[in-house]
């Protein structure tokens, strides 16, 4: 069965061709990378594009590289490709954790990190890691290029700083030296789920903390007050208890069918506590399975 909505399909080979099409069609042209979100949205009538631009054969957008201190992820790189790269696990463990929690393997072979951030849903799993690493989103239009810091990327649920005639070509993620991080995700059970709360927690040897969350407000964001409280201090139960007290000031969770505001807030405290200790364990070379941190399955 065909989709109820009709559109044309192009598979350009260069970024310039993509940008030219994007200039012509603007908001009626959508970039097709993995398609795992896009096709569902078209099927369900949420999007009615005139044109889909398949970017999977644009060589420049297929780049995945670690040059010194910077990881570059091209726009058509799938989660699966990232998960398989050992450097990602070594130097970007929080991102690696997050990638592994996105949907399931058969979706991750197609779904892309860039597609993920372009969807800009509040429960975006990759966002806390990108926020903690101060990633840079590379955008381009036919006439110009610009870089957008990830902190300025998410404007509102499903709304990003990207313009209609622009595309994202990739994202650069700086290493954070002498650090370790973890992504802790609250789902309803062991199988794939959209985050009901997600906390990215990073700490470095010089006791600098970077903490971000998703699914706990309209957009993913850094928890600046908690970071400020923790910075420079060794972890202790009492310090963490103080940090947990700040959680209500950092998040604005809602009650929906997936979870209540009350539970999201309560478990955020548990996630922060366990996540901080787990990040410290990782920093000290201990293996921690992020998926098991909250205990149980369901």
């Amino acid at each position: 069965m065909s989709l109820a909505h009709e559109f044309t399909y192009e598979r350009p080979k260069t970024v310039d061709e993509v940008l030219l099409l994007k200039r012509q069609f603007g908001s009626k042209a959508f970039i097709l990378a993995g398609g795992t979100d896009l096709i569902v949205n078209i099927k369900e009538g949420m999007l009615t594009p005139d044109l889909l631009i398949d970017i999977k054969e644009v060589a420049e957008l297929k780049k995945l590289s670690l040059n010194g201190e910077m990881l570059f992820i091209g726009a058509s790189i799938s989660f699966d490709e990232l998960i398989d790269r050992s450097e990602v696990q070594s130097y970007f463990p929080m991102l690696h954790d997050a990638c592994k929690t996105v949907a399931s393997h058969g979706v991750r072979t197609r779904a892309t990190v860039i597609g993920n951030i372009c969807s800009a849903v509040p429960s975006l799993d990759s966002a806390p890691a990108l926020l903690c690493h101060d990633a840079i989103v590379h955008c381009a239009s036919f006439d110009a290029k610009r870089d957008i810091p990830i902190r300025e990327w998410f404007l509102a649920p499903r709304k990003t700083a990207l313009q209609d005639i622009e595309i994202v070509t990739g994202i650069s993620i700086p290493k954070v030296p002498e650090s370790a991080g973890i992504y802790v995700k609250l789902g309803r059970y062991g199988g794939e789920d959209l985050a009901q709360a997600g906390w990215g927690i990073m700490l470095s040897r010089d006791l600098q903390y970077r903490i971000a969350h998703c699914a706990l407000g309209p957009v993913p964001k850094r928890a600046a007050k908690i970071e400020a409280l923790l910075d420079g201090n060794e972890l202790s139960d009492s310090l963490i208890a103080e940090a947990i007290k700040l959680i209500p000031e950092e998040i604005s969770p809602i009650t929906d069918i997936r979870s209540s505001k009350e539970y999201r807030t309560h478990v955020s405290g548990v996630m922060l506590k366990r996540g901080l200790y787990a990040a410290r364990d990782r920093l000290h070379g201990k293996k921690v399975d992020a998926a098991k941190l909250l205990g149980g399955i369901a």
Partner: protein
């Protein structure tokens, strides 16, 4: 015990090759060529409303649209046990998702686009979304014409109310029972609605040819029942209605009876010469097929200090949905059996089937017993704890035994309930809970008994044809559905055992009602027992034909002849050996060159002639509505994270009395599968409706069914075999039962671990964590 060659062995599934090679044909896999039309439904957006007008003009303009039909084209009622449904809504809609019209187009895309353009104007009526609300005097009436609906004689509707059926069971003297009690516990338990979630959605194709014959291909558990309801509703002769049921991608009760299949069947009658397909989307599967009924159960139980149960007052109010043509029988079944597997002398059960403006309730694996047992088995554990009794001892003391009277006065069948209890107690090492090193983790143990009888009309029957082929392979022609349980394999084993032909040489095809003999439905966990008896009789018929022929030609006495290794042999003449393939079609040539015999074609039939629904309407005493019960016990160790509420089943043991496990590995398969399905209903699944009656989670994104990541760490399946006297080789059904104990086990384990009793399903991590927080605050 008798030695069998095929019965009781792990025979390889005879449908394995088809299913594993990708060759198996399911409903949506059949090609219909150029004359295939696609139907898309226009569905109600209101829970309760009068349809003021339907404007199809814009929709008709869509390219590729052929026709559009509405309720006025099909003013027919239908229903399995009560005719309270229409093929399309007539003047009123009664739930969100109810079909109002169908757009017929040459492509599914065109049908879908056009369906969105059909404009329906409604006049809203008050929506009744809760069964307790529906019972109030001033509530809107969903079916003012209830008095006129035809129904089976064992239903008792209350016209002028929203009560579609009220099953009353009364035994002994309830007041006396409570006065004898030293302790009485009274409480209320709630269970929401659940969805079957077979991975294959409903699909059906109807074709009415120019000769006036209707053929329907449908993904169904009930081909003959469908044929009957189609013929009845559409005014056709049974001989002119043919239902072909290919492989089914999961049933769980959801494809029992007739739901959406009647739509393409009816549409076809107005689209002569075309085939018309309706394939449900996942969303439609959630909003407009049968759902498991919601329950509010009020239990009052009296017990003596020594642990003897003296009285049970069990009131169960069912949210049965907008139409109860099938769901009312769930209510009925539980109304007869809500004592659980216990010997209780003073009983009152009120099982009340209530109309609500939610989708129709219907059969779901367990047929109401899961819902009932959640309350009852929670209650049993609580009473044992209150009295300081060991909960297993308490259960053992009151466990029903063969010959004890059920609530409706019939005798309980032979059963291995005590053996099940013992074996589970041992397997789970009851009382020896493992402990966790992690201070945030606590571990609880939960226990539950279960029982269930097939719910079926007293004359529900099965039949079988069996024909030999030239090479002495067999076609076994039956009409039960292999919905995954392994029915085809087990039926082949039965024929194999009697005829000495290996199961691998027996083909069992999916049914076609024109060619296969009658079968009521593949529901109620009765098919192994009922169809198995029919197959056994057919095989015995074939055997008799074979032996008679040998007797006629070779003059050996019949009682000296036997079948072994695909040949006829004689006890008194070891030299005699005649391979079946030498004569089962071609006959036996005699000395004068003439042939005797001919193709061996056999038949068998089974109807439980002892069953009756003639119980007293006020007490249910007097009839024999249930043919037998299958019983069992289960227990688990549950680890709970006190802070997050997250739970993990470390170990679960489930023992079931299969009578005789015809294929033990298939029984174990039902245990691992059913148990996980049950655990999901208690841990995370449930259907969430908003205050307008709209389902909020009609997809797998938010209706979570278990994945490979959600399996208990260890499952110990235990098979107990106390033969069913009238079962084939002693077998009785076990398919539904394996999910029954899951919910109360979890509730009991949570209380054991945390001292918190949760009385509303599901018992999610969130509920547990928030309850712990509350408790810690107090």
């Amino acid at each position: 015990m008798k030695d069998y060659k095929y019965i009781g062995t792990d025979v390889t599934r005879i449908d394995a090759l088809e299913k594993i090679s990708g060759a198996a044909i399911y409903g949506d896999d059949i090609d219909f060529g150029a004359n295939l039309l696609h139907a898309e439904l226009v569905q109600s957006t209101m829970a309760h409303a009068i349809i003021k007008s339907i404007d199809i003009s814009e929709a008709l303009k869509v390219k590729g649209v052929y026709k559009i039909f509405t309720g006025k084209d099909f003013p027919y009622k239908f229903g399995l046990y009560m005719k309270d449904r229409y093929i399309f809504a007539q003047d009123k809609v009664r739930f969100v998702g109810e079909q109002i019209a169908a757009v017929i187009a040459f492509s599914p895309g065109a049908a879908k686009r056009a369906a969105e353009l059909v404009k329906v104007e409604y006049e809203a009526l008050p929506a009744v979304l809760d069964q307790m609300e529906a019972l109030k005097d001033d509530t809107a009436l969903l079916h003012p014409e209830l008095a006129d609906y035809p129904h089976v004689p064992w239903f008792f509707p209350k016209p002028g109310t929203n009560i579609a059926h009220w099953r009353k069971t009364r035994k002994g003297d309830l007041d006396k029972g409570f006065s004898e009690a030293d302790f009485i516990l009274e409480d209320t338990y709630q269970v929401p609605r659940y969805a079957h979630c077979a991975i294959e959605t409903h699909v059906a194709v109807g074709k009415f040819d120019h000769s006036g014959r209707l053929t329907v291909w449908s993904s169904s558990q009930s081909p003959h029942t469908q044929r009957h309801l189609f013929a009845e509703a559409l005014g056709l002769s049974h001989k002119d209605v043919r239902v072909i049921a290919p492989h089914v991608g999961g049933g769980f009760g959801g494809k029992a009876g007739v739901t959406m299949e009647i739509i393409p069947a009816a549409l076809a009658t107005k689209l002569k010469g075309y085939a018309v397909k309706l394939r449900y989307s996942r969303e439609q599967e959630f909003i407009n097929t049968y759902q498991r009924l919601g329950v509010v159960a009020k239990i009052k139980m009296g017990v003596k200090k020594d642990g003897t149960i003296t009285a049970l007052d069990h009131k169960i109010y069912w949210d049965a949905g907008a139409y109860v043509e099938y769901g009312a029988n769930v209510v009925n079944a539980v109304g007869l059996s809500a004592i659980g597997p216990y010997r209780i002398h003073n009983v009152s059960i009120d099982s009340v089937c209530v109309y609500t403006n939610l989708p129709p309730g219907g059969a779901y694996r367990g047929f109401g017993y899961s819902e009932m047992l959640f309350g009852l088995e929670s209650h049993i554990t609580r009473i044992a704890n209150e009295l300081g009794l060991d909960q297993i001892e308490f259960r053992r003391k009151n466990a029903i035994k063969a010959g004890d009277l059920t609530a409706y006065g019939a005798k309980m069948n032979p059963n291995g309930l005590i053996e099940c209890i013992d074996k589970v107690q041992q397997a789970i090492e009851w009382g020896k809970k493992p402990s966790s090193n992690d201070p945030t983790k606590v571990i609880g143990q939960g226990f539950s008994l279960f029982w269930k009888a097939p719910a079926m009309p007293p004359n529900a029957s099965s039949s079988a044809f069996l024909k030999f082929n030239e090479d002495a392979t067999i076609n076994l022609i039956i009409s039960g559905m292999d919905i995954g349980q392994g029915y085809q394999t087990v039926m082949a084993q039965i024929a194999a055992e009697i005829l000495s032909v290996p199961p691998g040489k027996i083909r069992v095809e999916t049914p076609d009602t024109d060619r296969n003999p009658y079968e009521w439905q593949t529901v109620a966990s009765h098919i192994t027992w009922s169809s198995g008896n029919a197959v056994k009789k057919a095989a015995l018929d074939a055997r008799e034909q074979i032996l008679s022929l040998i007797n006629r030609v070779y003059h050996y006495p019949i009682d000296e002849l036997y079948l072994e290794d695909e040949a006829v042999k004689c006890q008194t003449d070891p030299a005699f050996l005649l391979p079946l393939k030498n004569f089962v079609v071609d006959g036996i040539m005699t000395r004068d060159g003439t042939f005797k015999g001919g193709p061996i074609n056999a038949r068998g039939m089974f109807m439980p002639e002892f069953s009756s629904t003639n119980g007293d309407p006020e007490t249910s005493q007097g009839g024999h509505p249930n043919v037998h019960y299958t019983v069992g016990a289960a227990a688990l160790n549950l680890e709970i994270d006190r802070e997050t509420g997250k739970m993990r089943v470390l170990k679960a043991a489930l023992a079931i009395d299969a009578g005789k496990a015809l294929n033990p590995d298939l029984v174990r398969g039902q245990i691992t599968g059913g148990l996980l399905q049950g655990l999901a209903t208690v841990l995370y699944e449930d259907m969430r409706y908003n205050d307008k009656g709209k389902l909020l989670n009609p997809n797998f994104t938010d209706y979570k069914i278990p994945t490979s990541m959600d399996v208990p760490d260890e499952i110990i399946p235990i098979i107990v075999e106390v033969p069913q006297p009238d079962g084939p080789f002693g077998a009785r059904g076990i398919g539904e039962h394996t999910m029954l104990p899951a919910a109360p086990m979890i509730a009991n384990a949570v209380e054991d671990a945390l001292g918190i009793r949760i009385k509303e399903m599901p018992i999610t991590a969130e509920k547990v964590a928030l309850a712990v927080l509350n408790k810690d605050k107090q």
